[in-house]
Every structure is written in C-alpha cells, then in structure tokens.
Amino acid sequence: MAKHNSADLEVSLPWAGKQVETTEVEEQLSRLWRLAADNVRIGQNMNVRTSVLNFVICAPDAETARQASALIRDLSSTHIARLTLLIFDTRLPSAVSTWVTLRSFPIISDLMRHHFEQITVMTTGSAAYASADIIQRFLKPDLPVYLWWLNDPAESVIFSRLAGISSRVIVDSNSFFAPQQGIESLLALLQDLPGTALSDLNWGRITPWRNLVAQFFDSQEYIPYLGGVNRIEIEHAVAPLAGHIRTEQGDISPNPTRALLFAGWLKASLNWRLVDAPLSRQLDPMTGSYTWQLTRTTGPLMVSAATSDEMHGGRTGKLGYSGEATLTIRPRVQPNLRPGTLCYLRLTSDLNTTHATFTINREEDADHVLTSVELAHGTRPRRVVSLAATQKVGQLLHDELEIMGRDQLYETSLRHVFEMLS
C-alpha cells in the first residue's frame, strides 16, 4: 500500500520496485537484466526484448499511477522498451525520488516472458516543473516517446514541457468536466506543438461506430443516398439525475464529449457548414442537448455518364446535393449504461423523392447494437453487431500506441467540434 508522508517525504511504493538514486537507475536496470539472463542460463525462461517505444505516464497521484501501471500488463504486445511513471506534486517541498523494476509477463505459458523496464519518478515542489528535463535522461534513444496524460490538459507548464519532448500525447476527453474548455486546450496544444501528435481514447471509443457508419455506404446500392443525408440524430446515455454532476462511480453526467466527437466527424466527413444565423444553434450543456442548423454544400462527387439509351454521350460533373440540414444530440436516460455511451445514430436521407434512414441503435443490451436500413421500397435485413458499451482502457490505449504520426482526421473533427460549441 502506498504511503505518502508529506512531512518528511518518505514515500513507499512497493509496486514500483526498488528505490534508487536517480543517477543509479541505469546501473540498477542492468543488474536486473543480468538477473533475468541468469534465469535463461539455468534453463528457465526465455527473454523477449524487442523495443518499440518509450511510454511516459503522467499521473496526479500515486494511486492513479499504480492503477496505470497495472494496465501495462495488457500492453505487453506493443513492446514498450521502457515505461516511465511520473507523479508530480508542486505543493510539497522540492525533491526527486526514483524507483526501478523490470516487468515481466509470460507470452507463451511461462516458457517465454516479455520484459521491459519501469522507472517511477516522483517530483515535488520546484522539481516538478523540471519533470521533462529530469526524465529525459531515462528515455531510450532512437525510440519515440508516447506521453499518457492522466489529467485534464489544463494550461500547465509541466504538461506543455512534457508534451514538447513527446512524439505523441494521449488524453481521454471522456474525463473533461467542461468539454469546450478541454477541447480548446487540445487545440492549443496542436497549435503550439506542431511536431507532436495527439491521441484521444474517447476517439477510439467511437471508432467502432464510425466503422458501422462507413459500412452502410460501402454498398454501391446505398452510396447515392449519401448526398441526400439532411438529418443526423445522435443519442448518448445520461444518469437519471438531472444536472451536471459526477456520479458515485466518478462518471461525469451528462457527458456529451463522445457524441460531440461523433458529430464533429460526421459534419467534417459530409462537409457541412454551420449556418451563421440567430437560433441556428441551441446548446444546453446542462442536459447534454444540442441542435445545429447547417448547410449541405456538397455530397459525394458524381460524374454522370450517359447510358446507351440516351441521345448524347459525354459527361457532366455534379457536386452532389445542397440544402439545409439538422444535426441533433440528445440525452437518453439508460441506467444500465455509463454516461457518455453512444446509444443511437440515425442518418436520414431524402434524395429526389426517395427517403431512406440508416440507423444504429443500442437498446437494453449493453453488448450489442442493431443496424438497420429502411428504404422507400422496403427494409433491409437487420444486423446484430457485437459492440460492447464499455471498452477496456488497456485496449483503447493499445490501439493508440500502434499509431504513428498525426491523426489528421481526429484533429479535423476536433476543430469542427470546437466550431460547433463556440
């Protein structure tokens, strides 16, 4: 159990391994590797050591750091070369404490084990502001640095300096109590650090929904309806209690960030524009309800080719359809779902005189959604899709650690969300 004695700064983190002087970290790690190699010589485990990245986790307190450390077990497949857990507290006297350990997970039974290094660093007082410099010496060369920031990305010198040495910053907008401010902070980061990529676990949560939407229009039969989409409705789960709250489980409700990201993505993909007119947007963050009036300036580009029955050959370009559109986000009270969970999407399309709807709906079943397409001339078979309401953080993190380079689509969607909320 972690002890934190603020009076004399004696800190015990048994899960973090052996406490050493900062200057002795590398030597201690070498010792640990030699011990691991001894196991190989006496015929026990085979060591697997393939290095892909430096992973820095910045936690607000020791318990959060411990929980994050436990998650790493799920990430052994990403071949973290070295994990640095950073805990900082500016309120305490200035000090730097370090612990080292070698983490080991079986890969194939216990015959083969994957090892990586874990360094835990606690910086307090003025040392906290130099965290980025302090941990630089621990970063393995030639490997990218991925920073998982377990706080809100509030304006913070510590955060921006750490982000400055990172190839990628990972946040979770699901924890933003004030979505607009949180998103604004993220956009500021992107602007200030063009060389740093940004990942959001919440974006990963909506990826399965994005896949399902994309699947509708992979069918040649349905893609013409894309140009006629004029209404989007999204619902997200909220707690039964009214008002902007944190539940007993620590969830924020209403928590529309996922729905907002989803909406931003849809708006960006369909190239819709906000209408600059009074009453064109109705935003109620207290209930998690939002409505926007937009203009549809383009649909999919279509080039019409004359059929053999027609008089003329030749081609004409046609930029889809234009007109008005509505985008709505609504709360749905669904007690079996955690606040923020996406529950419903409907795209309504009117093309010439043809009407179609494309729906994804999660009802009482927390593990499945139902996709359906209704056309003017009939309903297509419905499909039940396995899509868990709650995804493991470890899996979301794993997906983000596999990404190299900037996620332009996420950044674009984020900008659209900011525009919609401004």
Partner: protein
C-alpha cells in the same frame, strides 16, 4: 435513385479507418457444404467475420449438397461446427441469430440441372429479400473430380455471369493431379469463368506470417541489398508435420508429399523469398514476379531427379510420446504403396539474383515437431581476422530465420564476443516473436482469404499461369519417379527428421539440415 450510370465516389466515412473497405452484401454458395472443410474452416471463418463485422448485413450462405437436410438442420450443423472450431468461443447468441438468418440449404446432386435452376431462384430471392445485389461466390468444397461437372452446370444455368453484381469462383487445392490435369481443369474453368473471376486458394498465403515475408523484405532497407547470391550461401525451407495422414489414406495415396505440400505451399514460400520486388502491391504485379521465379526454376528431369531429390515413407516409431504405426500399416493405405510421406529437394533458381544458390526443401509427416520455417544462411565473413586467435573455428555464418509456425517470428544469428580477456566468439540469436508480440487475436487464414475474395482482391490467390508453372516443375520429378524402382523409396522412423540419406544428400554440399 439516380438512373444514369455513374462512377462511384469513394466513401468519405472510410477515411482514416483501419479497415479500408468492407465487402458488399453477397451470397456464398458452398458446394459440398456438408463436408469437413466447410465445418472446420469455412463456417467458423464466416462466423468470425460476422462477429468482427467486416461482413455486411444481408450476407448469406447457401449450402448445396446431396444430403437430405433443410435450412434448420444445416443451421444447426453450422452452429455445432462453429462451437467446435471457431477461434472465438463461446458463440455470441445475438450475433449468431443475425448470421444464421442468412443461412440456407439446397439439397441436390451436382449433376441435376434442376438443382441449379432452384439455386438460381433462391439466389434471386436472396437478392430481393436480403439485398445481396447479384453478388455471388461459388465455393467448390468438393472432391476435385466434381469440379468440372459443377462448373459446367453453373455455366449452363447462366450462373457464371450476372446482369448486375459480380460472380466469383473459389477453388480449393489440389488444383489438378499433374500438369495435364491442371491444364485441363484450367481450360474447363476458363470456358465458363474469366480469369479475374477465379480464386484458387492456397491457405498458406492467408497466414499473417507468410504475408510478413514480403513486408520484412521490402519494408526494411537493410535486407534487400544482401538478399542475393553474393551474400547468401543457401536457403532451407522446412515444412514439418508431427501428425500422420490422420485417416485420409484414400486422398493421400493419390497425392503424396510432393503434391500435398511441395507443389503448392512450399513453392509459394519459395517464390515469396526469391521474387523480385513488385512495382506495386497489386495482385497481378505480385503474381507476375512469383511466376517469373517459377519459370526460372532449373528443371529437374532424368538423372537430376535422382541426385537432387529424396523420397521416403515413415515407418513405426514414437511421436509426441505416442507409439505410431508406419505408413504402410495405416488404414486406407496399400501395403505395397509407393507414395512418399517425406520429400527433400535441392533446386536452383536460374536468374541474376540467385544463380548458384541452392534451395533445399524438405517436408514430411510424423517428423519430431510441427514447424514451418525459411532459413537464409549467409556466406562466411570474407576476412578471417581471427585466424590465429582462439576464436578460430568459433565464427559461424549468420542465419536469418523466418518462422512461419509455430513461434511465429524472425530471428537473426550473429557472432558476438564473449566478455573476458581472451578472444572468444559465441553465436547469439536476436529474436522477434511476431505472433506473440502483436497479441491482438490473429485472424485465421481462411478469414483473410474469404474476405479478400469478397473484396475482389486476388493478391493472395494463385493465378492460372502460376499453377501451371508450379506443375511444370513438379511434373519432371513425377515423371522420373514413375520410372524408378520402388526401392528408391526410403524409410525413416516416425519421430525422426527423415532418412539418413537425406542427411547425406545435404552433407555432400558441405551443408547440414537445420534442427528447427
């Protein structure tokens, strides 16, 4: 809906998604749907695709076979098969129900025109009710002797081409029994289907680790410059099985190791190792380069076959802690059978890249362990500066090993100095475990291949000229073996790495077989 034909725009929602495209709804008609392959591989693969939802709503399966089943019985059979063989268990009941609603069965023999008429009607109904849009895949999961009949009947019923949608044909190996039968089958299939409709499966190509061969070679700049005769001493390709013929005596007696493994899987592995980089990663560009390798194989005919091949049968022995009978004692095997269960070959690729580099291939049943690997042994360092030191004799050649299964991965053997005051060199292995590294659940080969066929991507399927080139090479060996007395078929004890003669076969070149 627009009436004029239009060039379709890309789906804007696909941008940024890992899955670049999901298939359009289609119907997969499985001929021989009550057989082993359908239950062990196809239905589980389709279910897993439905579970991980690359499969679109409306996807349907029609089982076409002789047994007197109906839709319900076939669906129950499918569920039993998925419960038994799916890589993801237990079966998700909601997803199963949704998937099963698209499963149908048609009882017919393969010779009855009425059966194909009923099939046509059923497919039209599925187009209407499930939105399958005229898209069809016909999967021949029957004994090869049935292929010509089915194909001809499909053509006669007009099922080979649609007014709307696409039609594709998947054919399982073995594709022919020899060169003549392969050409004849190609001719018969080609009369009914165009080449771009034909998907010849070699499931090895669906394995992640086999696909990784090209990625490894071509995504890393350090390997290609040494991937040639100047630096490579020889290459060994091993496909070893620890199992016997598993009761399939009837099939194996007609096939033998050279048809079962060498003609298809091993030559595919060889082409991936030996080919030139394609100009793009599109199906025909890749297959063009593979065919060039096959055409460049130095033919083995006449006396060359005798000196460059070894064939053997397993005798009784111990494998995996069990005592096993010899091949000639297996059910369904003639006591005077001359079918080989082990083959070793030495062959050469006569082109600028590989001239003079021997490729050693070996495969067999009831070997000590199941392993598939490709080992590239490099030439010794040219300058032996350690000649007069104690390190003399300790320097071993570098070996790059691509492990296809199990322990999927790559290892590189190189020499390193042992810490100490004297000059001691020890070989060490640098290992990358692919299959355990990316612990994300690996799709089965059939899942990848079926999905690729639905997407119209034939990169991982064998082309007509590729099949015929493979058979052309193998035919020379088969012809010579026919002329040799049965005494040339050696015996090896089950559980060993093959006959002694196979060791001598490689020793005379100054090499030795790897112990995988």
């Amino acid at each position: 809906m627009p009436q004029r034909s239009a060039i379709e725009a890309p789906n804007p929602f696909r941008e940024g998604l890992r899955i670049k495209q999901s298939p359009e709804p289609c119907v997969m008609v499985i001929f021989g749907a009550t057989g082993d392959l359908t239950h062990r591989k196809l239905l589980p693969a389709l279910y897993n695709l439905a579970l991980e939802h690359p499969l679109p709503a409306g996807f349907s399966v029609v089982g076409f076979a002789r047994r007197p089943y109906d839709d319900e019985i076939f669906r129950q059979q499918a569920l039993d098969a998925i419960n038994a063989y799916s890589r993801q268990k237990p079966v998700n009941p909601q997803v199963w129900e949704s998937f099963a609603s698209g499963i149908h069965y048609l009882q017919s023999n393969f010779y009855d025109p009425e059966g194909y008429e009923k099939l046509n009607n059923l497919l039209n109904m599925l187009d209407h009710e499930r939105g399958t849009g005229g898209n069809r895949i016909f999967y021949l999961s029957t004994p090869p002797s049935q292929y010509p009949e089915i194909i001809q009947r499909l053509g006669a019923a007009g099922l080979n081409r649609n007014r709307k949608g696409w039609t594709r044909l998947i054919i399982e190996k073995p594709f022919g029994h020899d060169l003549a039968s392969a050409r004849e089958l190609n001719r018969q299939v080609g009369k009914v289907f165009k080449e771009d409709q034909i998907y010849r499966i070699d499931h090895y190509l669906g394995k992640e680790t086999v696909q990784n061969i090209l990625v490894f070679r071509l995504a890393n700049g350090i390997f290609e410059p040494v991937w040639n005769r100047r630096y490579v001493d020889h290459i060994q390709i091993t496909v070893a099985e620890d199992i016997g013929i598993e009761g399939r005596g009837g099939y194996y007696e007609e096939a033998g190791a050279i048809r079962d493994m060498v003609q298809n899987h091993m030559l595919q592995l060889l082409t991936l190792v030996a080919m030139e980089p394609p100009i793009t990663f599109e199906a025909n560009a890749v297959r063009d380069e593979k065919v060039k390798v096959l055409h460049a194989l130095q033919p083995l005919t006449g006396r060359d076959v005798v000196t460059n091949t070894i064939r053997a049968q397993y005798g009784p022995g111990w494998v995996g802690g069990r005592q096993v009978p010899g091949y000639l004692e297996e059910p369904g095997v003639s006591p005077t059978s001359t079918t080989e269960t082990y083959v070793a070959l030495k062959l050469f690729v006569d082109n600028w890249r590989w001239a003079g580099v021997p490729f050693y291939l070996r495969t067999g049943k009831h070997l000590p362990k199941r392993v598939t690997e490709i080992a590239i042994q490099f030439k010794q360092a040219p300058l032996m500066i350690f000649k007069r030191s104690e390190a003399q004799g300790q320097v071993e050649p570098n070996v790059l090993t691509l492990r296809i299964q199990p322990d999927e991965g790559i290892s590189l053997k190189f020499g390193a100095k042992v810490p100490g005051t004297d000059m001691q060199i020890r070989s060490v292995n640098m290992d990358f475990f692919y299959g355990s590294s990316f612990v994300r659940e690996q799709p089965e080969a059939y899942e990848r291949l079926l999905l690729d066929c639905m997407l119209g991507d034939s990169t991982l399927f064998t082309r007509r000229d590729e099949v015929e080139a493979q058979w052309t090479f193998i035919q020379g060996i088969l012809d010579e073996w026919q002329n040799e007395p049965p005494s040339t078929i050696l015996t090896y004890e089950a559980g060993t790495w093959g006959p002694q003669a196979a060791d001598e076969f490689i020793w005379r070149d100054g090499h030795r077989w790897r112990r995988p």
